[in-house]
Amino acid sequence: MARLVAKAVSKTYGATKALRRGDLEVEAGEVHVLIGSNGSGKSTLCKIVAGSVRPDGGQLLLEGRPMTVSGPEAARKLGIGIFYQELSLAAHRSVAENILLSDLPGGLFVNRGALNAKAQRYIDLFQGVTGDDFHADATVETLRPDQRQLVEIMKALSSEAPVLIFDEPTSALDRAQVDRFFEILRRLKDDGRSIVFISHRMDEIFALGDRVTVIRDGETVATKRIAETDPAEVIRLMVGGEETLVAAEPHQPTVVAATAKTVLAVSGLSGAGFRDVSFNVAAGEILGLGGLHGQGQSTVLRALFGAPSPTSGSVQLNGATLNPSSPRATIGRGLAYVSGDRRRDGVISGRPILENVTPIHAVKQRLALASPSALRAKAKPALEALRTKFATFNHPISSLSGGNQQKIVIARWLIDRPDVLLLDDPTKGIDLSAKTDLFQLIRKLAAEGMAIVLYSSEDAELLGNADRILVFNGGRITRELTGEQRTRFNLYQAAYEAGEAA
């Protein structure tokens, strides 16, 4: 009898079906790997099991008995501990307090000695690999990212729960830390614990797992014994049936003439989250950046735009050196950047549409005065090019739908055309028709000679629009897909290849 069973669990957020039919069976004494592409629903499934998300339907069984998990506290009482992907540490508190946060010993008063002694048991598990200055009294904010991740792991281990869920626990760890962590997990497994493990690294999955469950588009598609499968089969399961392996996406590769001039040349660019990135983009080309979330695609684009600047490397724009010191500097040189996080980086909330569509024009033309009628005349064609729907220029941008807000943010770059357009997951959270309008425009801009770099978290958008795709893994470009190589299978295989240990 399986220890933990999820049967046809589903969850819908608004119009998005995050999980259609999640099935999972975890035995006692096994490491069960959960894998699926970006947004396939595996994290949602974990959160449902851990009680932080309520399912809309389906059934959960623990030791054969139906269980309802009313919240994280209840899950812990039932014996389910979870490591969360997004770090959830109290930065100003000590390592010991963080490890035992959910169950601080003692009553009204904290007994620091007992606290540290209890926490030390978990710290000792990682003895020798924690790095310098890592001890029970260290304040979390003074720790390096890998050390913080260790604290997060110790926090999950300290729950001593029979079922432990780890959602991408190794992203910041070095090789020695990962090896130690896996040793610990194997010991726990031998003690009869059940471990659910989410990872994107094929080498880890095959080194540690006993069984693997593949989720695709919110549905569990298969559970396999690791010993009876191989990475290629797992990727095929993630991608979908054999028939989709070859050029399933309707992509029309733009033929970029071999003589097309290079507009942007990036060489050896490094910064926070990416290392030694080099590529060229030609006039009229749409260059796609692919791979899993957060492998450096977005930070590279932001660095090129100067927000913040890269730490080393060189950038050439139209043959001249570009120093990306700030957005203001790069805008002046002909770069444009559209963020997918429009609320944070794009929309000037509460201000009229006119003020939202004209700032780049003002910067480029060094305008001092604002003549609303002249600005309206400039803005109108840019908004029409994207089929933006709005009532008047005086309406606040917040009165529009998300898709139309993003169109306005993009339109601000179209009044004075840039040479290079950097798109950082530009369609995140916008409706289908706005996406269609956007990609029509992007292809038109490319046809007119603009150089475009597109990062998208939706693989279909990349396969359908990019002439070339650079796959990022662990902050580096690990593969370039051109022409017929641009298939979903190749994209996944490159994305899930063993990431180089940091």
């Binding site: 957005p327 203001r328 000037i348 509460g350 201000r351 004209t358 700032p359 780049i360 003002a362 910067v363």
Partner: protein, 328 residues
């Protein structure tokens, strides 16, 4: 598909009127004038209203700078304005020493002093990342200490007759110069905020600093400029205040700190930044002056007036804070 459509028809309702701070302020001003006239006949006479407007102009000029700093967002506020008003009054009194010939030098000296104080505030807030509340409160303390030192060393100085005349006597169409100055400042503020890219930038930075930065706007320079302008407006008010009182006295400007903030909030500018304008602030300053005058009429002393002002600000925050929560 049509993209740009004509103006949507606007429906006016009673609720819209209630939401317009400017209209509320004007209605309250009229109501308070009528109340004052009832309590003390002659309160709303032409001469008396003119006197009230002179006092309101002093407050309104300080509030112009306060308004800009608050619009710039990131909890922008300038608590040092009262100190700058006092400092400017002393500098002006000494530089002109009761002579008309010294007026130009006095104005230049005061504007420079205001700009320097503002620049230090701005640099502290942007480059050193000190919260505006702490930075400008600290600056106020420094200025207060400086005023004591100055006062121990030199006489307080007197206003030039030309300055007093400008502030208190009619110069054009029966209105004193300071009221014309206030009108000009009002028009300049409207132009700045509505017809210049600097104005657009102030609103953008106040409403979403990160988006403004990503759109290539010079966020830090602009914010420093706002504090500089605030210092300069306070300095102008200090000069005018000297003309109004004839000679400067201890902490003459202190009374402007709280009212300058209340006037801005009353005028419909959000303390969170990015929303509002100066027209409402002018009405707010007038309203507060009338209120102050009524409190004086009914024999409530300075401490009582301060309590009423403080309570007014808290009530306003409650009112606007709640409105915001409802809209979100």
């Amino acid at each position: 598909m049509s993209t740009v459509e004509p103006t949507a028809t606007k429906r006016f309702s009673f609720m819209d009127i209630l939401k317009a701070p400017l209209l509320i302020a004007i209605a309250l001003i009229i109501a308070l004038l009528l109340l004052g006239e009832y309590l003390s006949p002659g309160f709303a006479s032409g001469q008396q209203i003119l006197r009230l407007l002179i006092v309101a102009a002093l407050m309104g000029i300080v509030a112009a700078g306060q308004n800009l700093v608050i619009l710039g967002g990131r909890e922008g506020i300038d608590l040092s304005v009262g100190g700058v008003v006092s400092l400017a009054a002393i500098i002006a009194g000494n530089l002109m020493g009761g002579e008309n010939s010294g007026i130009v030098l006095a104005i230049l000296g005061c504007l420079a002093a205001g700009a320097i104080v503002g620049a230090i505030n701005g640099i502290g807030v942007t480059l050193l990342r000190i919260p505006p509340l702490v930075m400008t409160l600290g600056m106020l303390g420094v200025l207060q200490g400086l005023l004591v030192v100055i006062r121990n060393g030199i006489p307080s100085g007197r206003a030039a007759p030309g300055l007093s005349q400008f502030v208190t006597q009619p110069v054009f169409l029966g209105l004193p110069g300071i009221i014309w100055l206030w009108i000009v400042i009002g028009l300049a503020m409207a132009f700045l905020l509505g017809r210049t890219m600097l104005g657009y930038r102030i609103y953008a930075i106040g409403s979403n600093e990160q988006a403004a930065f990503m759109a290539g706007m010079p966020v830090k320079t602009t914010r420093i400029l706002l504090f500089v302008l605030s210092g300069m407006f306070a300095a102008i008010a200090g000069i005018c205040l000297l003309g109004y009182t004839g000679s400067s006295f201890a902490n003459v400007g202190e009374q402007y700190m709280l009212p300058s903030i209340i006037a801005v909030v009353f005028g419909g500018t959000a303390l969170s930044g990015g929303k509002g304008g100066y027209t409402g602030t002018m009405a707010g300053a007038t309203l507060l002056t009338v209120l102050q005058s009524i409190l004086t009429t009914v024999n409530i002393d300075e401490s009582g007036r301060q309590m009423v002002f403080g309570a007014t600000l808290l009530l306003l925050m409650l009112f606007y804070g709640r409105g915001k929560a409802l809209r979100a």
